[in-house]
């Protein structure tokens, strides 16, 4: 057919045809992935607890209050703290200044601490919040507090040392730094992978929230798996059922796969770092566990739950008296429960605890059967929408030769989008499918603009819906003083360009209005926004220029 030959000489039409074919190939090769709400599974929305804050406080004052000192002075890189009378030798260590020099002369004690002012502030916050504190940023120096604090609670905490959080909105920000979010995401990622779960997606939203999709898992199980930071702690019993902290999980250097014994008991062997082993030895000796193991149980906790508590074995107690011991084992129980617990401990020891506590702010689940049903319903909706739109177009133009290219173009825009989704590996969720239907509805609009602009049929078209297209085209052509067949003529091109000014304006407004949705709603509507934005772009750049040519030829033929 000469029409087709003519058309394929046009670059726009060739690009369009190539894009559609490419999209079909991409869909066939990569396949489409569906979102959780269509495939079934559960999702969790986590907030990381913490704050990034500035602090107004003098380090000398902190030291004075902490040591009960009469005076604290800064000399270069060191602080000298003068305390009346004698000082508990372990106090400096307890406050986090392990290298401090303590000298008692007469009735005063001098403590020399090599530290920067930021270290002193960090130590104070750590000690009083019982949480990790990191220094972030320079001028102004900010502190990332990795626990749940408010501006008020922090001010109350700083009041005894005469400090406060400076007034202003950006001096105290809830949330943690992007790096911490990323680190948490990585730990979560590897922990979940260790559990042998398939198809888990961990995403960061808005730098503050972590979104986890767990395919094929119910929400109760998901919360159990993810909601705990996995903090491992070893404590030792001192006196009267009291215990003292010895080590955290970060002192564990390596861990072996859980092992079951003949009695069905499960244990997780692990190795302490050298420093960790030394700390453990010192604690065991200090507490008296090496001399009287039975009165001083060693306890291991995972997220403050006791998972193990037993006296030191006699031979271990004996050797600990002489040298640090690095190899240890946590016995966690027997049977299936023991096996599960051992596996959980293994994962947490291996991947480390989450840098911050997480709070589940939202969660949910969809069953696979319900998801499949939604899918069918949406395909149904899409088909009805396409038919309804086709009906409207036919009602207006009464001409198959316009209806068919229009509907085909609109449908091919959907194909192109799906092609992108397939190759990018993005998931289609319920909202994206709704987005596709909106793209069909709005995409045809633009084709209507092109058609009307080319035909000049806009005039009184509503009144003359029953007039045949040829009559109107002829009338319009006559009016403009040019034949429609002359598709390269000036009139045709100027009309086409005018149509595209309108289309570009309309497309741009639709796209920019959708931009905020990319960042809103914890990612729930990202698919909807993305599909509309991309649909508008693809339509305007590829499909509609080609449609302009094709319909020009058809009207001219």
């Amino acid at each position: 057919m000469s029409l087709i030959n003519d058309l394929f000489k046009d670059t726009r039409v060739v690009i369009y045809a190539a894009a559609v074919i490419l999209a079909i190939i991409l869909i066939a090769v990569f396949g489409l992935k569906f979102g959780l709400d269509l495939e079934g599974g559960s999702y969790l929305q986590l907030q990381l607890q913490g704050a990034v804050t500035q602090v107004d406080v003098t380090p000398e004052k902190i030291l004075e209050v902490q040591f009960g000192a009469s005076n604290a002075e800064k000399h270069g890189d060191t602080y000298v703290v003068t305390v009346p009378g004698k000082l508990d030798p372990t106090l400096a260590d307890d406050l986090g200044y392990s290298g401090a020099k303590v000298v008692t002369q007469g009735n005063a004690t001098k403590v020399t601490i090599v530290a920067s002012s930021e270290t002193i502030i960090t130590n104070y916050l750590k000690k009083n919040l019982d949480a990790d504190v990191k220094i972030v940023g320079v001028a102004p120096i900010k502190y990332e507090i990795r626990t749940n604090v408010t501006r008020e609670s922090l001010n109350a905490l700083l009041a005894p040392v005469g400090g406060s959080v400076p007034v202003g909105e950006d001096t105290f920000v809830q949330g943690v730094t992007a790096e911490t979010v990323d680190e948490t995401k990585k730990v979560l990622d590897s922990k979940l992978n260790r559990l042998g779960l398939q198809d888990i997606k961990v995403r960061i939203v808005d730098n503050k929230y972590i979104l986890i999709d767990l395919a094929g898992m119910d929400v109760a199980t998901a919360q159990d798996v993810v909601g705990k930071p996995g903090k491992f702690e070893i404590r030792i019993e001192t006196e009267n059922n009291e215990s003292m902290h010895v080590l955290y999980g970060d002192a564990v250097e390596s861990v072996d796969i859980p092992q079951g014994d003949r009695q069905g008991g499960w244990g997780v062997p692990f190795t302490l770092s050298e420093e960790g082993a030394a700390v453990f030895q010192k604690a065991a000796i200090d507490a008296g566990a090496t001399k009287n193991p039975d009165a001083h149980d060693i306890a291991m906790y995972l997220d403050k739950d006791e998972i193990f508590s037993a006296p030191l074995a006699a031979e271990l107690a004996g050797s600990l008296n002489k040298v640090p011991v690095r190899s240890m084992e946590a016995r966690v129980g027997s049977g299936d429960a023991g096996s599960a617990k051992a596996k959980e401990l293994y994962i947490h020891l291996r991947e480390g605890a989450l840098p911050v506590n997480v709070e589940i702010v939202g969660s949910g689940q969809v069953s696979a059967a319900l998801g499949a049903q939604f899918k069918i319903q949406m395909v149904f909706a899409g088909l009805i929408a396409l038919l309804a739109v086709a009906g409207m177009v036919y009602y207006r133009y009464r001409e198959k030769r316009i209806v068919l290219p229009m509907i085909t173009t609109s449908f091919s825009e959907v194909i192109m989008m799906l092609g992108i989704w397939a190759v990018a590996g993005w998931q289609l969720d319920l909202a994206s499918l709704a987005g596709i239907i909106m793209v069909i509805g709005t995409g045809v609009d633009q084709l209507v603009i092109i058609t009307d602009e080319l035909m000049r049929g806009g005039e009184a078209a509503a009144a003359s819906a029953d007039r045949s297209i040829k009559e109107r085209a002829a009338a319009a052509a006559e009016k403009a003083g040019a034949k429609m067949a002359a598709t390269t003529s000036k009139v045709y091109l100027s009309r086409l360009s005018r149509a595209f000014t309108i289309i570009l304006g309309a497309a741009a407004t639709t796209a920019v209005a959708m931009l905020p949705l990319l960042y809103m709603g914890f990612g729930a509507l990202t698919g909807f926004a993305l599909i509309i934005i991309l649909g508008v772009i693809l339509g305007t750049l590829i499909a509609r220029p080609a449609y302009g040519r094709i319909i020009g030829h058809i009207l001219g033929a």
Binding site: D218, V219, Q223, I360, V361, G362, S363, Q365, V366, S367, A368, A369, L370, Q373, F374, Q377, M378, F380, A381, G382, I384, A385, A388, V389, G391, M392, R396, A431, A434, I437, M438, G441, T442, V444, D445, V448, I449, D452, G457, G458, E459, A460, A461, A462, A463, R498, T501, I502, L504, A506, A508, T509, V512, L515, P516, L517, G521, F522, L525, F528
Partner: protein, 296 residues
């Protein structure tokens, strides 16, 4: 013919009283809701926090109510072979217990849980992003036309569309959810399409303003028609089909979204061809006199 009469029979200033009255009515509706609830539209569960579950309808509604009586139950609704059960805010441990119970007792339960942090953050996001979206749209309109008055008319028409759509939510009892927010954003971007078409035609084509408006109307009504057709398809499938086809379920998000869209699109037809068109008639009748005076 009728349409032409509406466009050109009455002086613009007189006709403009209708949209102004509608905008005032919309404001009254939003204001009244604001004073009774603290926000201009009724907030859905995503913004107030709470838990929503849907389970296969195996027993009666009362049986379902009794089953979950120990939780802060708000409402049980039949949504076509499933019950939708809504709960108020509850503690994390209560929620964990509820999730376990639901999964133990039902196959294929759907659960959505929105904690207080989630809903607060969502409220803040809407307050932040809805205006941003509108401003971005307005910016594009001003760039496209580079004529303050014409651009302003387009933006005002869009604002009227959004206000009408929001007010219609109060009248029809649709609550603000993520879906309806998406619909409002969609309206912000889409409702100006016909306004752009109209203004472009009036600016770029030759002929009398009234003729150009009527010409644009044919195309514009068709544009709205196709979109409304697509939205009606969504309404039917999400909202009514379950009444006919027993295996289908009501799709809440889509249903809310399409309800807001249909009101917004209806408002858009009115605001484009009355508010914006009459605004253009008024502006060009004034400026053509002024321009003729200035130009040689």
């Amino acid at each position: 013919m009728e349409l032409e009469e509406i466009i050109s029979k009455y002086p613009p200033k007189q006709i403009m009283l209708i949209p102004i009255a509608i905008i005032i009515l919309a404001f009254i509706s939003l204001g009244a809701t604001y004073f009774s609830t603290g926000s201009p539209v009724h907030l859905g569960i995503e913004f107030t926090g709470g838990t929503l579950i849907t389970v296969p309808a195996t027993g009666t509604e009362d049986a379902a109510k009794a089953q979950f009586a120990q939780y802060p139950l708000v409402d049980v609704r039949d949504i076509g072979n499933r019950y939708m059960i809504q709960f108020g805010p509850m503690s994390d441990s209560e929620y964990a217990a509820l999730a376990k119970q639901v999964n133990a007792e039902y196959d294929g339960a759907e659960i959505r849980h929105m904690g207080p942090i989630y809903s607060k953050e969502l409220q803040a996001q809407v307050m932040r992003y809805l205006p941003i979206s509108f401003l971005l749209m307005a910016l594009v309109v001003f760039i496209v036309f580079r004529q303050p008055m014409v651009s302003l008319l387009v933006v005002v028409s869009a604002l009227a569309d959004i206000l009408t759509a929001a007010a219609s939510m109060n009248i029809t009892g649709v609550q603000l959810s993520l879906g309806t927010v998406a619909a409002l954003l969609m309206l912000i971007g889409y409702s100006v399409d016909t306004d752009i078409l109209l203004s472009m035609r009036v600016l770029k084509r030759k002929g009398s303003v009234d003729e150009k408006i009527i010409g644009a109307m044919g195309t514009g009504l068709m544009m709205s028609g196709t979109t409304i057709a697509a939205v009606i398809a969504l309404i039917i499938v999400s909202n009514f089909l379950y009444l006919i086809i027993p295996s289908f379920t009501r799709m809440d998000v889509i249903a809310d979204m399409s309800t807001v869209l249909i009101f917004g699109l209806a408002a858009d037809i009115f605001n484009t061809w009355v508010t914006n068109a009459q605004g253009l008639r008024w502006y060009f009748s004034r400026s053509s006199k002024a321009v003729r005076g200035q130009k040689k």
